[in-house]
Symmetry: C2
Subunit: 333 residues, 2 copies
Amino acid sequence: MPQLRKDPILKQWVIISPERGKRPSDYKKTIEEPDDSAECPFCEGKEHLTPNETLSFRTAGTDANKKGWWVRIIPDSEPILRPEGEPGREGFGMFDAMNSIGVHEVVIESPNHNSRIHNATNDQVREIIWAYKQRLLEIKKNPSYKHFMVVKNSGAGLSNFTHSHSHIIATPIIPKRVEEEIEGAREYYHYHDRCLFCDIVKQEQKDQMRLVYENDQFIVFCPFASRFPFEMQIMPKSHQPFFEMIENNLVQTFADALQNTLKRQEAVLPGQPYNMVLHTSPCSDSYKDFYHWHVEIIPKLTKVAGFEWGSGFYINPTTPEDAAKALRDIAIK
Amino acid sequence: MPQLRKDPILKQWVIISPERGKRPSDYKKTIEEPDDSAECPFCEGKEHLTPNETLSFRTAGTDANKKGWWVRIIPDSEPILRPEGEPGREGFGMFDAMNSIGVHEVVIESPNHNSRIHNATNDQVREIIWAYKQRLLEIKKNPSYKHFMVVKNSGAGLSNFTHSHSHIIATPIIPKRVEEEIEGAREYYHYHDRCLFCDIVKQEQKDQMRLVYENDQFIVFCPFASRFPFEMQIMPKSHQPFFEMIENNLVQTFADALQNTLKRQEAVLPGQPYNMVLHTSPCSDSYKDFYHWHVEIIPKLTKVAGFEWGSGFYINPTTPEDAAKALRDIAIK
């Protein structure tokens, strides 16, 4: 019989349907990645095709917006939010609107067209994380922004560019999804005087069956109420509200956890597209006792239909226990 | 500049991006509907291929599960929830789960394979609505179910069957999305002592520019903070919490509104798939002052990517005003 499971953070019920029991090979790849290497503006040597960089890690003595970088951050050329102007909050009758002030930048994760996080050197992955951290700390200085996150859409059908990249997005409001996480975590904290995310880490360590990977400082697991097959979360084991305050010695272990996770995903679901989101606490100290930064990884294997839109609950045809076992047991290089 | 707009019910911010200014013809149809008429179990004469009907409207003297019907409701052959068993609420460490007790039935909306709501006779559309109402009233007698809704996934890629049908789903919990609507409506009611949905009806009538269709008892509009291009809502103008309590004289005007809306959608976005959801108040009198039944129609024209999943706010490249104008101005038969 299918089981209803409740996400302890979002309080969202998910239907886990083991009868449908889909295994990795049941998810067929539907779209191939196009070869866009000739016209790719993210490759080294094509810097003139993009807006001027806001940050780059590059060889000493090389010029900005020229060759010589290994991670490069630029404003998005078609931004969903723009840094210019005033927030301009306004009512239209009973409705509320504001200008979409914000930051939308692109982190180009390698100068090489075919590098991916799962096949890059471990050093390169660590440098990407340094770049996220350094740029977020800089953007955070502007008090107009209430929240920021890192988002990655990887693979055919999810992005206009195949070259490995992610987005940094800063918004003048706290997004609803993050508000929901905060509400869930706050309520738990009021009841238990403990961080909900810290308790999830302990529960997953105890249960073992949803664990994918673990090192000294990070844990990777398929959530108890996974909305999607092979969904994963990466969490620091110790309580840390702000990703951008990550201590130097944790950058390497986070890089290890991230790369190991994506290697496992690629081995189990070769070439499948995925979304990745890094959630950190909003820019305020009010949430620091109960918010805990984390990464969500969602392979795009299923379609979302009317039932999900209309109800807000999801049908997952692969149990998180089965998904975690496949991801844990696979041999990776 | 893109505008951030807030949904007054869900309190969700949407980025309306008129710079991307997509018109109906910019949305290309990506999948053709397959011809599955030979093996379709929903056609008249194929009743032996489906579970036994729970309701049918049929010619006097014809037998159940035989020819002679014009609307027929059956249990889904691969239900996401099943009516057997106990709810079995249980904790697993800190996590909560229960058996997925519920109702999942299929409303076959015509005996003819190629009939659709937009091209059916108006009488047939009225009969479909009678069938929804009658079956919901019956299912509601079981006190285990806290909420039910009607969901329709229409078109290639959204459903396994092309034959016109919808789903009736009853759940032992109030789905999160509906909880969110209730919360938003309750808060508004406490503040204003008025129904939020009733106020939206009045605001849309006053603003005019997002109106698609109107008759004496129903209004159709593109919501101010539409998450998706050409999203529409149908609402009764007078305050009515429960769809299934719809008065007899409103069934015809609702049928008119529904069919007119889907004709307009088909004319503007020919052959495009869509999801439709009918939301009615949960099975309790507690919500009747502030909940107001309505229908949401979402043409499936855009992809949802990492940013939307991670943030819960959506990017809509067509303003609701432009969408409503196209839908309002189109000539229909």
